[in-house]
């Protein structure tokens, strides 16, 4: 099956074509069959490939499946070829698996939307591009997927384009991502310039010939990381992600939580061979990740929109993944990426279920006491929250604990301290979300009648809840030989050439686990205290530190700062360039050239007299010139 792995993106592509071209002509049922069905086929095919890969002899791994020569020009060659190795398989499983569940969920969630077929065609196109992104065997093909998911993200954020805020958010996401893409593109150019190829295998093989810390590798990795900060919403380019919540909730779940935003993490992990040669870049990645994790978590403390809380929590969790990459724990990053995909998709879809049941209400201050109205949603949301808070034995516990542990042992005690503080805040704001939504008094309007969602929505939720519960068991770090995930991924990941391979005692590891559990527990306890026991407490706290509260409630005013320092100057500059430079200088030059060409054209036209004699004369002059030229030498 691996030889036909190119079918994996082809299935959803067919789905996209059917829904996109014929969407208006075929029935809604057909659309609901084609959209999710095509992704389901992909998932099945990926499972088959995975099974086959496990049974391949070690010599045959990894597999590169050549499809066709895409561009050949001089020494430059880009193939359309797919790389099947542990890393891409994990990503494929996550993308197609979670994607499939979200497609099914969408059938229920989007059922009454007038643009039903358009929605599914975009969603399918997104899956196509995401699959290309993770399967590509070279940077250029990866960039195709990279741009493709960016486009689909734009289309889906602005899906309800008649809403001003939605189309603004789509535009914002697109523009901010362009900045990152530019960095990524520069990185690719530099890679081709340095290595003479864009193929992963060839680039990584040559990377070892450079000295550790060489300037060019540092610049390349930093450029690539700029791309990652755009796509994965890290400081300074994270501002688009919270606004992206204007899209339909399943889109937020699939694109802006579970898959697309992890592209940057995937790319950094894929390029681990380059990053380990550039310690400065590693530090940058770690610090940016850490700062993002902390800052986004703190913003999450004060948000009242249920989806915004989750959005900031996504930014924060992505920060943890980059922190892991930055300290060299690429496997831990991918592990967290996977578990995060499960529980964040679950949380978003759960919040979607809440919003669905509340007739579109997203403000948590108008919810409360939904526990009995939506028992299934409540149960799965609780599972997801326990997972993200890092409570044993839920999936997030293992992955987050591994990151914290690695931050301490391979990084810096400061990393660990700040990351742990972030984890505490995570536990706090997530339980704040649970308590505000499902507990306490009901604060919804009397005309709202909350109800549980239909099975087509709850079944994917239950499956994701199961995954969020058991998904962590593949990577139990404690006992040698139990960390299946680690062993499986090892061939795809380069390691920091470290001299100090310290073996930590088991007691130390267990202790650290207990500490991180304790940290989460404190966060939960505070949330419980503030939102269940003494509901008047939040107001008091806010009143005590009004400045700090305003600061985080207004997201540190980052949007405003960007507006004042970047957006407005560019806008004013553009207006100036448009009115002064463009309309006067450039248009003047263009019009001038055009009129010159025009006049020239009239002159030449006069040569076209229509008289055969004149034409023959022209030929004769040509002959005279040519023979004269040759006879004259």
């Amino acid at each position: 099956m691996i030889q036909y792995v190119w079918l994996v993106p082809v299935f959803p592509l067919i789905g996209f074509l059917i829904n996109g071209l014929l969407g208006k002509k075929i029935s809604k049922n057909t659309v609901s069959l084609v959209g999710p069905g095509s992704v389901g086929l992909s998932f099945a095919w990926v499972l088959g490939c995975f099974w086959e890969y496990l049974h391949l002899p070690a010599k045959a791994k990894p597999v590169e499946v050549f499809v066709f020569n895409w561009i050949t020009s001089g020494t430059f060659n880009a193939q359309a070829a797919f790389l099947v190795d542990p890393l891409s398989l994990v990503m494929l499983l996550v993308v197609s698996g979670v994607g499939f569940l979200i497609h099914i969920y969408s059938v229920g969630y989007m059922h009454d939307d007038p643009g039903y077929a358009r929605y599914f065609s975009y969603l399918n196109l997104f899956v196509v591009n995401m699959l290309i992104l993770v399967m590509a065997n070279n940077f250029l093909l990866m960039f195709v997927g990279w741009e493709g998911v960016g486009l689909c993200s734009y289309l889906l954020i602005g899906y309800w384009y008649e809403k001003q805020s939605a189309s603004d958010a789509g535009k914002k996401a697109f523009v901010v991502n362009r900045i990152g893409d530019f960095g990524f593109l520069l990185g690719i150019f530099l890679i081709f310039y340095t290595f003479g190829t864009v193929n992963f295998r060839e680039v990584f093989a040559q990377a070892h010939n450079f000295p550790v810390g060489s300037a060019i590798l540092t610049i390349i990795t930093l450029c690539l990381f700029v791309g990652a900060t755009g796509k994965s919403a890290q400081i300074p380019l994270y501002t688009w992600l919270p606004d992206a919540m204007e899209g339909p909730t399943p889109v937020s779940a699939l694109i802006h939580a579970a898959t697309m935003v992890t592209a940057g993490v995937y790319m950094v992990a894929r390029c681990s061979a380059l990053y380990v040669m550039a310690p400065i870049s590693m530090t940058v990645v770690a610090v940016i990740g850490l700062a993002t994790a902390f800052m986004a978590a703190s913003i999450g403390l004060a948000q009242n929109d249920i989806k915004r809380v989750l959005a900031y929590s996504t930014v924060s969790q992505l920060g943890y993944m980059f922190l892991a990459c930055g300290v060299g724990a690429f496997v831990a990053a991918i592990f967290h990426l996977m578990t995060h995909a499960f529980f964040k998709a679950l949380l978003f879809l759960g919040s979607g279920s809440v919003i669905h049941g509340m007739h579109g209400e997203q403000d948590m201050r108008k919810m409360g006491a939904l526990k009995n109205k939506m028992p299934i949603t409540y149960a799965v949301m609780l599972v997801g929250t326990l997972a993200i808070a890092g409570i044993f034995p839920f999936a997030g516990f293992f992955s987050k604990d591994e990151i914290l542990f690695k931050a301490l042992t391979d990084g810096h005690v400061g990393y660990w301290a700040i990351a742990s503080l972030g984890a505490m805040m995570t536990a706090f704001y997530m339980f704040r979300l649970i308590f505000m939504t499902f507990y306490g008094e009901k604060r919804w309007d009397h005309h709202v009648h909350p109800h549980e969602s239909p099975p087509v929505m709850t079944i994917p939720l239950i499956i994701l809840a199961i995954l969020s519960t058991v998904g962590g068991f593949v990577g139990i770090p404690l006992i040698q030989g139990w960390n299946v995930f680690h062993e499986f991924l090892a061939p795809s990941i380069a390691h920091v050439a470290a001299g100090h391979e310290v073996h930590h005692s088991m007691t130390f590891e267990v202790m650290m686990m207990l500490v991180s559990m304790g940290v989460a527990g404190i966060g939960i306890f505070i949330a419980y205290k503030m939102y269940i026991k003494q509901p008047e407490l939040p107001a008091q706290v806010t009143a005590k530190v009004p400045g700090l509260y305003d600061l985080i409630y207004n997201k540190y005013y980052v949007d405003e700062i960007y507006d004042a320092t970047v957006v407005e100057p560019i806008k004013n500059g553009s207006v100036f360039l448009w009115q002064e430079a463009d309309s006067k200088v450039i248009d003047g030059a263009v019009n001038g050239t055009a009129s010159v060409v025009d006049r020239l054209s009239l002159v030449i036209r006069k040569l076209e007299t229509g008289y055969v004699q004149n034409y023959a004369l022209g030929i004769l002059i040509g002959v005279a010139v040519i023979t004269g030229y040759y006879l004259g030498r």
Partner: protein, 484 residues
Amino acid sequence: MSIDIPTICLTNIGPLITLSVAGLLLLLFDAFSGKAMKKAHFHQFSLVAVVIALLQTVWLWNRQTTDFSRMIYVDNFSFFFNVIFLLGTGISIILSVHYLENYRKNYGEYYALMLFAAVGMILMAAGGNLVIIFLGVEILSIPIYILSGLFREDLKSNEAALKYLLLGAFSSAFLLFGIAMLYGGTGTFYLADLAAFIKKSGMNGFTYVGMGLLIVGFGFKVSMAPFHMWTPDVYEGAPTSITAFMSVGTKAAAFAAFLRVFLEVFPTVRMEWDLLLWVAAVATMTVGNVTALAQTNIKRMLAYSSIAHAGYILVGLIAGNQLGATGILYYLLAYTIMNLGAFGVVIAVARKKDNYLNIYDYAGLGFQYPGLAAVMSVFLFSLVGMPPTAGFLGKFYLFSAAVEAGYIWLVIIAVINSLISVYYYLRITVIMYMQPAEADLGPVAMTPVVNATLIISALAVLLIGIFPGSIFQLAMNSVKIFGS
């Protein structure tokens, strides 16, 4: 005394035999069959002949050899061009049917002449001897003279035919004289022997003049400046289907001969002809593009633009390297499809008796006939050379070959010229989509076959633009015969 009877293998000229026999049969049918069956079956018969010839061509793939006492080459170069010619002929036949019926000119000889012209093209690409190439030129030209004047009652058509005949004969004389000069200088007509002679003993006065006159002869056929002036008048006056056929077929055939002669016989003395062609290429592109700007008749505009395209292709010839030759082959294939496609739309929109040939007749087409406007846009974008169309990659290969060979300024001028072409090509798109129709366009008759042809052509333009790999490889294999 013994007579050597040269061994010949008829399958090597299979396509030629098929096309000639089919042409002759068509003439006989036309003379001896009843009126009813004429209209329906001539084009089908000729299409079948083209398809058979295409199959026979495929059979010839990778046969690197010569035949008929080295008179013709049977190699991948001629294979590739055969495909271009047959494709061009086939599409032109499909586009002709409805057009001719409108004029009540659905004659058998029309199709027979087209097939004969195709025979001439194939000979030009396959000729291993200058005499054969000249023969090819004439076999190609004479049917085209007749076809240009097909509408005998139409003054313009008559004018086109007469002009083309007079000037064609004029230039043929130079071509022939050049061949004679080369014979005088070297004592042979064979390309291979000519090449060996020039490599060994260098150039002399005769060969210089001969080479110069070959440039004149081929230059006329590809409409290279200053031998291009016939092009707009002939293209405008000839029946549109013939204009389409001429603009791709004649040009491709002439370039095939041009390329083969200059890269096989004169590669060692490239310094002697590159400057001349450099000047001619720049003049050709510039004249073509600048004049096209001022045209409002779409046939005339496409005529001038086809002059400009000849200029681009000359860039590849001047580069004189493998990539340049590959680029020419790729570009000619792309050009055949996109130009025929554009002409197909022109034929469809012009309707009865070419009433709608002004570019402003296209106003509102995007709304009334979105499909037609969409395929036209694809062809126009490709003619401009925008990614991801075939036209873009064709230009890219041609220009990068010239950069590789060091002709930076030539490429800069070529790119500026492409920019100029954006204006007049995209003006059509703008008119189609952004101007409301002044009056109802009325029905545009489309047969399913024409529809399918246009759609497939548009898809092909996109497809070989996005996935150029296999075509590029094929073209590269086809020019391996040129050593350098």
